[in-house]
Symmetry: C2
Subunit: 209 residues, 2 copies
């Protein structure tokens, strides 16, 4: 994988709670077919074995479509399946430690909700930033709010790609794009919709205008 | 660390719920001073960052006393602090994957509650087995029961060290020793006691008879 060529446009972060009885791996495949350019597998309440098995299954799909697969938080899982990268929040492994253990070739993304966090992450070698929460979200209640103005300031202060996250959907997507970000991260706007394929396609269409 | 020289006699597995308001790192130090020969850090409900910070703190202590430190389940934490080893349960990373990622020099222990699991773990290169639960325990409700007879069968069927775990304390310790195990793993019999140092010393005394 060529890190410089990664397309951050429509970045799917998983949340199995959005899916009801639907299968996570199948839902990810539908989202990719609809236009998702990057997948982050995020699991907080399963055993390591279950996370690993799911990650192996998802990697088969993302590899088939040549979409990068990023693991949230768990470097052990990222290493075990040789994922394309790791995403760390402020309560996860420190960026520097993650880079030391993963090496220079893997994508490492960092969650940032302030300019300070963003600048530090860039300085420490992050490949991209996940900035949010931009809008109110039911998925991640521990995220600090970031205004569209702050998002714009962060985007103009760093040279690595910035992906906006938090409550982004079809209606507010134009506002986020106006901030000049490299991509948007979505959870419920894709996985919480009845037709996952169409939902991803609709977002992709708005992003391509 | 010389893997062959590891002393499994009195193996402490941590559980912060046993401690009330007492500090985990301080409690571990008291247990070591009382005679604990090995420490396994087990955390199931903290963030990766918190687990890492705690593990770094505990490693300072175990290094000072030259006691091996084993991390439960989380290979990312084990790698991040360069721990002496990893303990995996049947719901954690598979033994083979853990060995592949940790290399030959690290201690890897596997939980086994059947002869089949024990033989497989040995064959896959486990350094020791944690066999239990021998007695009823409030700490780990997902553990399958293993009789003293089964424990003895497992001990005689493998050539790697066998550590018995589950509800072991001063009163039933002689029964477990009679099964010929290499060591006992304790949680509440040390960390759940008012005087951690004395509790470890008392167990060590019984073990030395």
């Amino acid at each position: 994988m060529n890190k410089a060529a990664v397309d951050y446009t429509l970045y799917l972060v998983t949340d199995r709670k959005q899916l009801g009885n639907r299968d996570l791996a199948e839902s990810i495949e539908q989202a990719i077919q609809g236009g998702v350019t990057l997948v982050q597998l995020r699991e907080k309440s399963v055993s390591t074995k279950e996370f690993l098995q799911l990650a192996e299954k998802v990697k088969e799909i993302t590899s088939r479509y040549q979409i990068p697969l990023i693991i949230n938080d768990r470097l052990d899982i990222a290493l075990a399946i040789d994922a394309d990268g790791l995403h760390v929040g402020q309560d996860d492994l420190p960026m520097v430690k993650a880079r030391e253990l993963l090496g220079p070739d893997k994508i490492i993304g960092v969650s940032a909700s302030t300019l300070e966090e963003a600048l530090l992450a860039e300085q420490q070698g992050a490949d991209y930033l996940g900035v949010g929460a931009i809008f109110t979200t039911a998925t991640k209640t521990d995220a600090t709010d970031v205004s569209l103005k702050q998002l714009e300031v962060i985007k103009h202060s760093v040279s690595i790609p910035v992906v906006a996250i938090g409550g982004i959907g079809t209606t507010n997507l134009p506002l986020v794009r106006a901030a000049g970000v490299d991509g948007v991260s979505v959870v419920s706007a894709i996985l919480g919709q009845e037709n996952i394929y169409s939902a991803a396609m609709e977002l992709k269409k708005i992003l391509s205008f």
